[in-house]
Symmetry: C2
């Protein structure tokens, strides 16, 4: 396992936050930031930030701080955002359409080439120039277009079937899964789950159990 | 700070997973499960599960394991799912509509009373019997209906304005935020963020950096 792959998930999950904050600084025309300022902005200690980045190389300079544009670019590169990814979405209800419509993903390089569904009322429709195709055509489409990322926005009972098609295609390398199901995939395919139920129930936990929210 | 409020976030975030697995067991008609079986199902050690649950009381019995229905009910109660929550959604594009349509949230007790938007083309439409109203009417609606949870599915530039309305209403206790923005709220309001960008960029990190996904 190569070095970057051994970095802890906790560190990895901070990187997109750094990327977001640095992007916002760039949008404001700020091109230099001290460790303290970056710490104040992100909520992480200057030491934590430095340690995190040290997993990937030396960034910033003593006494200078960080060059925002350079660091933004470097973190983007580490996150794999310096290239495009062909992507398909399986499940073309509201959630699938929401993901297809989200311009931020497209700007970051994730190009949705097609949506798929089994509902004849949806097949043939277009979401911002992207067609909804019959899911029976998905495996071939993935092969023909070298699609590397599959997004699952189906109900949970269909999620594994979709994952199985992704596996059979021998092209999909990563799955972004919104269905509340544990997918069984071979170890060479990465799965990132978005557990919306779990997020909402965490919120209700705090409302229920913490007096500070109930005074 | 009361005891349940001091439980670590890592433990809290495992509770909805237990709830999901126990619900699936119930659906299959399985009403008794040993520590080992539950460990195998969840991926957490029997000891971890026991420790997690011990934060909230004694569950299960030596030699018997757990009564699935009882444990599901208890964990649901701890998660605050034993009551309903009046909810509104601000931002009625695809994502807001997806959240409004998600039957799983309604079943769990989160009742969406209204969506809101500023787009005249959306105002007046209905999503499964739930109306999209003018956001100018949101503050009063929240007061009139004792709405406790506000969901933000607007673009990031509007998120703080929506949060400010939630704060002014003096009714909202929890915010479920999908916008990639850090909300400034008083400490008596809990915010749970869903950072979709960060999730997707974690996936691309693995695709970029881990050879196992690129062989």
């Amino acid at each position: 396992m190569n070095r970057e792959c051994k970095v802890s998930l906790t560190v990895i999950r901070r990187l997109p936050k750094y990327y977001r904050y640095l992007g916002e600084l760039l949008n404001k025309g700020i091109n230099r930031i001290s460790s303290q300022e970056l710490s104040k902005l992100t909520g992480f200690t200057a030491s934590q930030i430095r340690q995190d980045l040290n997993n990937f190389g030396g960034f910033g300079q003593q006494g200078y701080g960080y060059n925002v544009e350079e660091l933004h670019r470097q973190v983007g590169k580490i996150l794999g955002l310096d290239r495009d990814y062909n992507t398909v979405i399986a499940g073309s209800g509201n959630l699938g359409q929401a993901v297809a419509n989200y311009k931020g993903f497209e700007d970051a390089g994730f190009k949705v080439l097609s949506l798929f569904d089994k509902n004849p009322k949806l097949i043939g429709l277009k979401i911002r120039e992207v067609e909804i195709r019959d899911v029976d055509l998905m495996e071939q489409f993935i092969r023909d277009n070298d699609v590397e990322i599959g997004i699952i926005t189906t109900p949970k009972e269909n999620a594994q079937d979709i994952a199985d098609i992704f596996i059979k295609s021998e092209r999909i390398k990563g799955i972004w899964n919104f269905a509340p199901a544990d997918l069984k995939v071979p170890e060479h395919i990465v799965v990132e789950n978005v557990h919306l139920n779990e997020s909402l129930f965490t919120l209700s936990y705090f409302l229920k159990n913490c007096d500070i929210y109930n005074s």
